[in-house]
Amino acid sequence: MGYSLDFGWLAGAAGVIARGAAMTLLLIAVTTLAGTFLSILGAAGKRNGPKPLQLAIGVYVEVMRNTPFLVQLFFIFFGLPTLGIRLDPILAAMLAMTLNMAAYTIEIVGAGLDAVPRGQTEAALALGLRPRQVFVKIVLPQALKVIYPALTSQIVIMMLESAVVSQIAVRELTYEADMLQARTFRAFETYFVVTMVYLGLSMGLRRLLVASGRRALGAGVS
C-alpha cells in the first residue's frame, strides 16, 4: 500500500507555525542576551574572582556541559517546585536555556579574554582608567571580536536545542507541530514542513548575527 503525501492542511496552518516560530525566536533572543551577559560575568569571575567563586563557576560549567539539556529542563521545571520555586513554562524554558548556554559561552568568552594581550590592560591602567573601565571598555570589546564566530555558532545550536522545551508545554515551534499533527494526522508532512522552517530560521539567524556582528564590531568578523 502506498502512502501519498498531502500538504493541503498547510494553508490553514501557516499562522500557527508563524506564531510558534515567533516564540522560538523570542526564547533564543532572551537566552542570547541573558546568556551572554551571564557568561561575561562568569568568565570574569573565573579569572579574577575569589577562589571559592572560581571553583563554583568551574563546577557549574562542568555539570551543565556533561548533562543533557532535557534533564536540566525537567530538573528546573519539575524539580524546583519541590523547593517552593514554581516557574511558568516559558520562564522555566528561558532559565534552563540561559543556564545551559552560559556554561558553554563562559568557556568561549574566557578564551576571548585570554586572547587579549596583557599589555592592553597595563596600558589602560597606566592611562588612569579604573579596573572596571579597563575591562568594559578595553578588554571586553576586543575579546568579543575574537569570539564572535564561536558565539554565533553557539546561539544557533541553542536555537535548535530549544525544540526540546515543547516537552514542558511552551508553545513554540515544535509544540505547535505536535498539536498540528495531532489534528491533521499528517505527522510526517507536518514535521517535514516544520523542520524546513527550523532550517530557514537557523540559516537566517546565522546571517543576521554575522551581519550585525560586522556592523557592531567592525570588519574582519566572519
Binding site: N66, V71, F74, L80, L160, V164, F192
Partner: protein
C-alpha cells in the same frame, strides 16, 4: 501502591542507563561508518558530489535533532518498514552523528598540507591508497579530541529519544517520577548518571587537546 525506596530508584535508573550506553555506542559506530562515506563524498574531486555532501551536513547541523527523530519515527513506516522506537532512535542518531563526524574529520583532512597528497602521488599511490595510507590516518589523529567531544554530545543527545518513546534513562526517570513524585531526587540522579558517563570523556578530550601537536 508500590513504594519505591531510594535503592529501587537507583537500581531502575541504572538498569535503564544500559540502554543509554547501548544506544550511544550503536549510534557512534553507525555514525562513524556513514560519516566515513559522507567524508569521502565531501572531499571528492567532483564539484556536485561535494555539494551534495555539504548539503547533507548543513541539513543535519541546521535542524533540531528532535525533528530528525520525529521524521524517522513517522517517515519510516511510509516506506513500509515496521517502526519501533529503537529503530528510529538508532537510525536518527546515526545520521545525526554521521553529519557531525564527517565535518569534524573533513577539518582534519583540510588541515593537512597539500604536500601530503603530492608526496603520496609521487610514490605512485592512487587516490584510495593515498586516503587510506596517508591522509585519513593523519586526519583522524589530529581530530581525536573533537571526535571524543562529539561522543559526549551524542550521549547527551540520546536523552531526546525518550520523546519518541525509547525506554532509556530519561523515559524511565519520567515513569519513576510519576510514581514517586520526587522529581528533585529522580532528575538529580539522572543528571548524576549522565555526568558520570560524560565527565571522564570530557576530561579525556581535554587531555587529547593538550597533547595535540601545534601545527
Amino acid at each position: 501502591m508500590i513504594e519505591f525506596t531510594f535503592w529501587d530508584i537507583v537500581r531502575n535508573l541504572l538498569l535503564a542507563a544500559r540502554w543509554t550506553v547501548l544506544l550511544s555506542l550503536a549510534a557512534f559506530i553507525g555514525g562513524a561508518l556513514v560519516g566515513l562515506a559522507v567524508l569521502f563524498f565531501r572531499i571528492a574531486k567532483n564539484k556536485w558530489v561535494k555539494r551534495i555532501a555539504s548539503g547533507y551536513i548543513a541539513l543535519f547541523q541546521g535542524t533540531p535533532l528532535l525533528m530528525q527523530l520525529f521524521l524517522m519515527f513517522f517517515g519510516l513506516p511510509m516506506l513500509g518498514l515496521r517502526i519501533e522506537p529503537w529503530t528510529a532512535a538508532v537510525l536518527g542518531l546515526t545520521f545525526f552523528a554521521s553529519a557531525y563526524l564527517a565535518e569534524i574529520w573533513r577539518s582534519g583532512v583540510d588541515a593537512l598540507p597539500r604536500g601530503q597528497w603530492d608526496a603520496g602521488a609521487s610514490l605512485g599511490l592512487h587516490y584510495l591508497q593515498e586516503l587510506r595510507l596517508i591522509i585519513l590516518p593523519q586526519a583522524f589523529a589530529i581530530t581525536r579530541a573533537p571526535t571524543v567531544g562529539f561522543l559526549v554530545q551524542l550521549i547527551k543527545s540520546t536523552a531526546l529519544t525518550s520523546i519518541i518513546g525509547f525506554e532509556e534513562l530519561v523515559r524511565t526517570s519520567n515513569a519513576i517520577n510519576n510514581a514517586t513524585f520526587e522529581p528533585f531526587k529522580v532528575y538529580g540522579l539522572v543528571a548524576l548518571i549522565f555526568f558520570v558517563m560524560c565527565f571522564p570523556l570530557t576530561q579525556y578530550a581535554r587531555r587529547l587537546e593538550k597533547q595535540a601537536p601545534v601545527r
